[in-house]
Structure formats: structure tokens, C-alpha cells
């Protein structure tokens, strides 16, 4: 029964009056109660003086022991300006000095809440005044131009749901690692903005231009060279993320968004695009974001993110019980759609297809599920993604075979196994390569 129903059912106290009185005390209670955070603010704008109601006749909302006893006996929090998370739900990113990871094991579905989107920056998050923001496009173009944020928003807009993943997204080393710690540098949003091709037509990109430089206005003045072809194909200058302006950590007020391409190329806080007929060989595409492979070779411009999957339930530090378990996780590919996810519950001997949850989008995190009866015997479970180019997520052994033991740390996407112990403990199975 909703409050409105209650009202209709003929309660004696006029609803609005009662709510207003309770608002003040309830808000005070929430703020006073330890460990309870409130993002909204007391609603109703009340002064506390409510005509016709003596506060003493209402339950004492300041009594914090009452807060979680019987919610039907105390008026709840009134509408606020910002939503809140239940104080019982505390998903948090895991920061280091250079990045912060998405808690994949705590998420439902395929959209990463914006405040849990992973972060990676090379000199911190800059503060940018949107009124002063400008994007310069110049070089091999007919008309070099500057666009204000307002200008960018006037162009025809598009939106697209896709992941962004840092290409250095694999950690291993010990059993007690969560999906967040192993590969939490991937997140998914609905990105809203203007297609770069629209801006390319506006400035008249020279037909002989083959690369463009994307430059950020952070203290690293981040730069990457991008083939012009990607710019024409599906690149976006994004200013929106999940229904609101892009968050500062994700590039406010505007970033480059290159679906399926390694995170670093999606230059945040973008201020300049220079069309050219050669790559610039910036530090971020030479010293970093390149990988050593066999025969001392160094592989450069590995833009595509290879297909990958991770089981997020069950995973460390969760605890499971014998019986039915729905294995859940996400799979994604920078080259296209997920074609299928295969699950093994016997350490890789047999594989079965998981159910893919719609929508299965191009270059997007795709949710998978697999119902399984666990007999309680120790085993290993793992997932393997296959994308629509036919690429199969490799094992660590296959990666090392292909790239050698000197394999660098970028674009490492091995099948990831979880060990289920007889007591229901779930542990990561770390595989060494160095």
C-alpha cells in the first residue's frame, strides 16, 4: 500500500501536514544517526512549525534505534534534491595513485553508475570552466575552427551505449583478488555527443589527412594519434554520460569517445584536434600503451580491445552454498558484438553456452548468466567470450605461447578462473607470466 492509497483509505490526519512535520524530525534523525549519509536535503522547505499538528503526537524519529525496526511506524524521508544510496549499499571504486577501479562484483546489469566509472589519468582531474571551454580543430582542414561547448551541443546529437576499458586492465598475483582488482578498469555508459564526422565535415578535413592528434587540457596535456578513418567511422565528441553532463573524472566538459578502442585513446578534457598525414609518436603511443611481443618486437597502435569476459558472481570474496548457483558476469569486445560466452564448471574440461541478456550491443558490456547445480565438491569455474569476428578469448597459456614470456602488460585478456573450495569459499586462480 502506498501513502496515497493510505490517504485514499481515509486516514484522519491530513497527509501533507503530517509529512511536513515528520520531515523535519526525520531529517534530523537521519543526519544524527551515525553511518547514515544523506545526499538530499530536508524536503518541504519546512520551518518546523506545522499548523494543527503537535509534534509530540508523532513517533520520535530522532530515536535512531527505530530507524530500521518497523518502517511502517515512522514517516520516511521526504523527496530531496538528489537521490541517495541505501546506507546498506556501499559500492566504491578502488583508487591507487594513478587509477581507480570499478567494483564490477557489486554491479547489476550493464550500465556503470557514473560515480563508479573507472578513472585513469596521467596528471589528475583538471578543473575546467565550461564557459571558457573551446575545442580547436586545425591542421589539414579547409577552415580551422573553434567550437564552444554550446556550439558542440547545437550540432545533431547521437547517443551510444558502449564500454571504455583501459588497455592495461589485468592484475594477478594472489588468490584474494576481486573482479574489481583483477580487471576493474572497464566501465560502461550511455555516451551522448556529436559525431566527430559531423565536425570533420564542418571544418572540411583534407582528403589526404590520415591521422589526427587528440589533445587534452589536463596537466599531462595528454595526446594520442588516431587514424582519421576512425574519426569518420564512429568517433564522438561526448559531453553527456548516463543522462547528465560527463563527470569531471570522465572528461568534463567534453571528451573523445572511440567505441571499442583502448581507454587512453578516448582523450578526456579534449581541447585540440590536429589533422595530419602522419602519426605524432607521442609518449603515450610509444613509451606507454605499446606491448612487447615475440622476437623483441614492440607492437604499436593496438587500438582494438580484445574480447573478454569475467564471472562477477560467484567471485572473491563471496561465499557460496551447495545447490543452485546462477553464475553471472559480463563479456565484451572492442571489435563487435559478443557472439557467445562459454562457461566451464569443471576447470575447463567441458564448456556450455551461457544465456546472454539483451541488449547485446556492439562494443558493449554484455551480461551473461548460467544456471548451475553445484554438488559442493571443490572445482574451478571460468568463462570464455567469443565475439562476432570469431575471436575466442585466450587462456593465459595461449597468450604466453603467442607473445612470449616477455609479453607486456597491455591487452592481456586471459580466461579468468575462480576456485570453489569445499567450504564455499571462492578464490581467484592467479596465473603467473613474469
Amino acid at each position: 500500500m502506498t501513502l496515497d492509497d493510505k490517504e485514499n483509505a481515509g486516514k484522519k490526519i491530513p497527509r501533507r501536514t503530517m509529512l511536513r512535520a515528520a520531515a523535519v524530525s526525520a531529517a534530523a534523525a537521519l543526519m544524527g544517526a551515525s553511518g547514515v549519509q544523506r545526499g538530499g536535503q530536508p524536503a518541504g522547505g519546512g520551518t518546523g512549525k506545522v499548523p494543527g499538528v503537535d509534534k509530540g503526537t508523532l513517533p520520535d524519529a530522532n530515536d535512531s534505534t527505530q530507524l530500521y525496526t518497523d518502517p511502517t511506524k515512522i514517516t520516511g524521508t521526504l523527496p530531496g534534491k538528489l537521490g541517495t544510496r541505501s546506507p546498506f549499499e556501499q559500492p566504491v571504486k578502488k583508487p591507487s595513485d594513478i587509477s581507480s577501479r570499478t567494483p564490477l562484483q557489486d554491479l547489476y546489469g550493464i550500465i556503470t553508475p557514473s560515480d563508479l566509472h573507472f578513472e585513469r589519468s596521467h596528471a589528475g582531474v583538471p578543473r575546467i570552466d565550461p564557459e571558457k571551454y573551446e575545442l580547436l580543430i586545425h591542421g589539414m582542414v579547409e577552415r580551422p575552427m573553434v567550437f564552444s561547448l554550446r556550439d558542440l551541443k547545437r550540432f545533431p546529437a547521437v547517443s551510444r551505449i558502449a564500454f571504455i576499458e583501459c588497455s592495461g586492465n589485468f592484475r594477478t598475483g594472489k588468490e584474494t583478488m576481486t573482479p574489481q582488482e583483477i580487471c576493474g578498469l572497464t566501465s560502461q555508459s550511455e555516451w551522448i555527443g556529436v559525431m566527430l564526422s559531423t565536425l570533420f565535415r564542418e571544418v572540411g578535413v583534407h582528403p589526404k589527412a590520415t591521422w589526427f592528434l587528440a589533445e587534452g587540457s589536463d596537466a599531462a596535456v595528454m595526446t594520442r594519434s588516431i587514424p582519421v578513418e576512425k574519426g569518420w567511422k564512429d568517433a564522438m565528441i561526448a559531453y553527456g554520460q548516463n543522462g547528465e553532463a560527463i563527470r569531471p573524472e570522465q572528461g568534463y566538459p567534453a571528451r573523445l569517445f572511440l567505441p571499442g578502442w583502448e581507454g587512453n585513446t578516448n582523450v578526456k578534457w579534449i581541447r585540440r584536434i590536429e589533422l595530419s598525414d602522419q602519426p605524432f609518436m607521442t609518449r603515450e603511443e610509444t613509451s606507454k600503451y605499446t606491448e612487447t611481443i615475440r622476437d623483441h618486437k614492440i607492437r604499436q597502435f593496438s587500438f582494438d580491445m580484445d574480447a573478454r569476459s569475467i564471472i562477477t558472481y560467484p567471485s572473491f570474496p563471496q561465499q557460496v552454498e551447495k545447490g543452485w548457483i546462477e553464475i553471472r558476469g559480463i563479456a565484451w569486445s572492442g571489435r563487435g558484438k559478443i557472439d557467445r560466452v562459454e562457461i566451464s564448471t569443471d576447470a575447463g574440461k567441458h564448456w556450455q553456452k551461457a544465456v546472454l541478456q539483451e541488449p547485446v550491443l556492439d562494443k558493449a558490456h554484455t551480461y551473461f548468466r548460467h544456471l548451475w547445480y553445484w554438488d559442493g565438491k571443490p572445482t574451478e569455474i571460468m568463462s570464455l567470450a567469443v565475439d562476432d569476428t570469431g575471436y575466442r578469448q585466450p587462456t593465459m597459456k595461449q597468450l604466453i605461447q603467442a607473445r612470449g614470456t616477455d609479453m607486456g602488460g597491455y591487452h592481456v585478456n586471459p580466461v579468468t578462473a575462480w576456485v570453489l573450495k569445499g567450504d564455499g569459499t571462492v578464490l581467484f586462480k592467479p596465473e603467473k607470466w613474469k
Binding site: M145, M195, F200, R283, T389, Q398
Partner: protein
Amino acid sequence: MLMKRTGCYRVAAVMVLGMLACHTNTRPPVSDWPSHFGFGKTATSRQIDSLNISIAPDGKGLPSGSGNALSGKAIYLAKCAACHGETGAEPTANRLVAPMGDTTRVKTIGNYWPYATTVYDYIRRAMPFNAPGSLTNEEVYSLTAFLLYRNEVIDSTLSLNAVNLPKIVMPAKKYYVDDDRRGGNEVR
């Protein structure tokens, strides 16, 4: 209008799927789009010059000026050594010195960077980490010379400038290959 455009964009995305297609989508996604929307302003050359700090591997964009390892050493000790070590070869988080062939497995300018122009460009745009953008062009030439000298790429007396810097052949250049993986059932 929005529906139409988004749909068209999706179709276009499917059509060009696969990196093999050497595709340029230069035509507007919707035929009734104007050739120009007229939003934004023409950039003045002053606006461009004030932002354009990029340097290409052929040297395009390098400023005038010069510097050598000796002057670079003094600047390095004053402005860089606190984080990168007295000689640059110390095992710091961001070690800068390890000549090609030396036993260290750390990737550095000497054993990993393919272009000398990148050293100039990166120092000028991002270093020192605690005061980015504070160095003069001359200082950056000197620091570049110092780091190339310490990595045994050039000798201590060479004065670097816009002409000779791009001509330096870096030891690791020969190892670089372009990624040519295009999906499909192979692991590389």
C-alpha cells in the same frame, strides 16, 4: 529527425564493421543535412599558435633554440632529480636511463623509445610533474640532450636543435611493428 539519424548511423556502423574496410564516411548520415551548420568560429592563427605545441617525428613543430647535455645536467639536478634520481638510472618509479643492451628490464628512453622528438615533446608538455609547462624551449633541448646522452644515444658535446634532433635514430626504433590483428580466431 533524431530517430532517423540514429538509425542511419547504426546502419552505417554495421556496414563499416571490420577494420579492413578502408572506409571514410564523408557524406552526411542524412541527405537533407546542410553542408555546414555554421556553428563555431573560424580559428585565428593566433588562437592556433597559442595552443599548437605538437611535434611530429620529422621535426615539424620543433621550436628554435638549442641545448647540450652539460647544460641539461644542471637543470636536471635542479628540477628532475628529486623524482627521477641523481643520474636517472636509479630504480625509481619512472626510471629514465637504461641504455640498450644493459641488463635492466625496465623500459626507458634508451632501450624502448623509438623517436627522439618524443623526448622533447613529452618533457615540454608534461614535466616537471609538479610544474608542467614551466620549462623554456632551451631548457627542454638541454634536458633532452642530457637524457639522450645518459642513455648512450648521443655524445655529451652534441648541441641539439630543430634540425638534428629528428635525425637521431633511436636504438629501439627497429623493433616497432604496427598492430595488424583484425579479430578472427587467432591469438597473437
